[in-house]
């Protein structure tokens, strides 16, 4: 049986002759598929201590560990990065004593997780996240990420 499939060229180009760069779509390639998108929110009721805190757990229902990415909106009007891609990263104080706050996405074969982590190196004075709220927007790929 010969080659079977579909390819669509961009406007003005003849599909049988098109290069890969000139194709809008070709079934010869996989395409990045977002099979589950959604939102989550979290408000810090108190300032978190050191360590990792799970802010959200999303069951993806896939038979593999998928790829993923996400975005956040942060209710801190003084920040440059109110609306951005994950990870969220804050290094409040540099120098001999410093603290790192991060919010990241990670996945395993069952779930996608939104996690917060605080790491203190030298006991620097951290910002207080009490009352800070985040809205997250995540996308789970229909393709492996591990």
């Amino acid at each position: 049986m010969g080659d079977q499939g579909i390819k669509i060229a961009k406007d003005g180009i003849n599909a049988p002759d098109a290069t890969d760069q000139q194709l809008i779509f070709t079934s010869a390639h996989n395409h990045l598929k977002l099979v589950k998108v959604g939102t989550a929110s979290y408000t810090f009721s108190s300032n978190p201590g050191t360590g990792t805190l799970t802010l959200a757990t999303i069951a993806h229902g896939l038979s593999f560990t998928p790829g993923h990415d996400g975005h956040y909106q942060w209710n801190d009007p003084s920040s440059y990065t109110q609306n951005s891609v994950l990870p969220w990263v804050i290094v409040p104080s540099w120098g001999l004593a410093w603290t790192i706050y991060t919010i990241s996405l990670r996945a395993n074969a069952t779930n996608l997780y939104i996690i917060f982590d605080r790491t203190d190196v030298g006991g620097g004075a951290p910002i207080d996240l009490t009352g800070h709220s985040f809205d997250f927007d995540y996308a789970i790929y229909g393709d492996n990420g591990a």
């Binding site: 079934s27 977002l34 990263v89 991060t102």
Partner: protein
């Protein structure tokens, strides 16, 4: 002769009326095609992950496995470490060198079709959002990847799928709205701004090529940050060199 083409709306939307970001496939827009993908194990700093030989530096994603989970690079790991992006050249996708902040990694890569050294102008065809309807029957399109049988193919064996009969799960492709390249400001206080004029916060992928270096992905880290507006995306980073930004039709504010 009239217009020719193909458009397929996402599950629940009507193809003739759907807004650009409600489409699954539209022959006026490129999708983020994957040239190659695969797992890798214990690739040392500076070593090649995959030889693509495309003749141009392509966009890419790399996930690493750490502590039983996967993270998209560049990442922020528990414990306050920031694994750096991998690097891509016109021939290879490689791990960062030790000098570039790299270490031995295990994970999964995607090399995309889109090249990083060119611009693609934005096109808006239909910007008015529509309301999705409910559909109890399975309808749509699915195209298997080469060598797989569409009716039997698993999700990661399909090239395209328009949706699944599961509530709140509709498949969508990354439809490319525009690509923009430019020169980095060299000052973290001065934003590198890409104007997309979509009217909503869009999904984006940023890449930079530091002077003397190779193309790498960039996200928020201890030396860079991104701020997305409804019509712009902005990268703040203190290096000199070039940037390339892919902006997609899909929203980042669902």
């Amino acid at each position: 002769m009239g217009n020719y083409g193909i458009k397929c709306a996402r599950a629940g939307y009507s193809a003739p009326d759907a807004a650009d970001d409600e489409m699954l496939l539209h022959s006026a827009f490129f999708n983020l095609g994957i040239v190659s993908q695969g797992a890798f194990t214990n690739v040392a700093a500076g070593e090649t992950i995959y030889t693509h030989n495309l003749g141009y530096a392509p966009a890419f994603d790399v996930f690493i496995t750490n502590g039983g989970y996967n993270y998209l690079l560049p990442a922020a790991l528990p414990g306050g470490t920031f694994p750096r992006s991998c690097m891509v050249t016109t021939t290879v996708l490689r791990n960062a060198t030790v000098g570039e902040g790299g270490s031995t990694i295990t994970g999964y890569y995607f090399v995309f079709k889109e090249r990083l050294d060119e611009n693609l102008s934005a096109t808006n065809l239909q910007t008015t959002s529509t309301t999705p309807g409910s559909d109890s029957a399975d309808r749509g399109i699915k195209i298997a990847r080469a060598g797989y049988n569409a009716p039997d193919a698993a999700l990661n064996e399909l090239s395209v799928i328009s949706g699944r009969k599961v509530a709140n799960e509709t498949a969508r492709l990354e439809i490319l709205h525009m690509k923009a390249t430019g020169t980095l400001s060299g000052n973290i206080e001065v934003a590198n701004t890409v104007i997309h004029n979509l009217g909503y916060r869009a999904r984006v992928k940023w890449f930079i090529k530091i002077t003397g270096g190779e193309w790498q992905a960039v996200r928020n880290a201890d030396d860079s940050f991104i701020n997305n507006g409804t019509n712009t995306t902005n990268l703040h980073i203190g290096y000199t060199g070039s940037y390339s930004c892919l902006v997609f039709k899909n929203r980042a504010d669902n």
